[in-house]
Symmetry: C2
Subunit: 236 residues, 2 copies
């Protein structure tokens, strides 16, 4: 098996990511190709991997860390589309639809990211229909999530959306041993997910705390009463 001379932090053929990502449909040979043609890089917190509006020539597989994907709207206000974490692929949408990046990717927690050139991805997609189907499935799942979120944001109040986002963050990133959310966001970022003002987030988090649904310690949010949060989030 060939090895690249440059900094290779993770070898694709035994990368733990495979078991949870679309790449589990690749053959050993294809994984070797992928391993040879990809480039690994560590991005520090705050780094921008690519900017909205830029042309990207490949996609990125997240080995670890957390990436924030956001669009910049009116007056520079950011709207967070989603977060990418271990095993997620980002940038493939723009690459495949031959479009400019529709969001900026910024590192929230130091990340090891593998860059996969567009050519490589296209070759794999053309030669391995199972892989192509898996990618298709992935984008369809994301599409379904996006559609659901559109309905939520259009019909629910800010309070309901905030409760929902806390639950989504819980499901996506999990809780630590003390029931704290495993992701720490600023109040502003929380507002930028659900589309509301920072002050509203603060007031509502305070309300949730008074109701004993959550506990707050700086940016750490401890989830106490999941059922009540679900009740609010689902407009029961």
């Amino acid at each position: 098996m060939k090895k690249k001379s440059q900094t290779t932090f993770a070898s694709c053929d035994d990368c733990v990511i495979n078991s949870i990502s679309v790449f589990n449909k690749l053959t050993i040979d294809e994984l070797n190709i992928l391993n040879y043609e990809k480039t690994c890089q560590i991005f520090k917190k705050g780094t921008i991997i690519y900017n909205e509006g830029s042309r990207i020539s490949g996609c990125y597989c997240i080995h670890n860390g957390i990436i924030k994907l956001y669009k910049t709207g009116f007056e520079g206000r950011e709207h967070i589309i989603r977060f990418a974490k271990k095993g997620d692929i980002i940038g493939y949408r723009s690459l495949l639809s031959n479009d400019f990046a529709c969001h900026t990717a910024k590192v929230l927690e130091d990340a090891l990211v593998c860059y996969i050139p567009g050519e490589t991805l296209f070759r794999l997609l053309e030669n391995n229909s199972k892989f192509a189907l898996e990618m298709l499935k992935l984008s369809c799942i994301e599409l379904g999530e996006a559609n659901t979120f559109i309905t939520d944001i259009a019909q629910k109040t800010v309070r309901e959306r905030l409760a929902e986002v806390l639950l989504i963050l819980k499901d996506t990133f999990g809780l630590d041993e003390e029931q704290n959310l495993q992701i720490t966001l600023t109040r502003e970022e929380l507002g930028n997910i659900i589309g509301t003002a920072t002050e509203s987030v603060i007031r509502l988090l305070g309300e949730f705390k008074d109701n004993r649904w959550i506990e707050i310690n700086g940016r750490k949010i401890k989830i106490i009463d999941i059922k009540s949060l679900q009740k609010i989030a689902n407009k029961k």
Copy 2:
């Protein structure tokens, strides 16, 4: 070439849809297979093609007519995801992600629709990587549109969203010789696209009319001042 004995309104190999849909990547042979295995049907206005939450076993290619795709939210309130028209494929998302339908498909204007069994679609996807890539591209484009709409709905006011939707409808369905939108929706449906109350739509349409940006004749909406609408829609 084989022909089916049953009602076949359109033959795939010379269907005009091919030039504008993903099926233009199929070979003649594949088109013949598709033609043989699909089923055509006319749906009258008001018919529901499939319901949100149901398991669908194939996808639908719209030959003509207009289909409304909507999710049902809290208290039965509908939220319109998008409209499908000539050349559009619907239902593929649920089919490919092996999920329940995430929206209801209801006929807005009488439509001729071809049903493509899931098996057929999967076979074509597996054997023709160009076609699979085209489908992938399609879903990526829809995903991009969904993401944009999320940001819009999260950051813009109702007034801005209404102006934007009028422009989107113009681009999607075009104008007739009198500059009227080629799609007629109820006030309630307009509200269900942008996530607002019927009364708000009425008041804002009235305002747009007073500003001489549009003219209203019942459900017919005439677009007069595109630039001003764009100005509002884009928050200039």
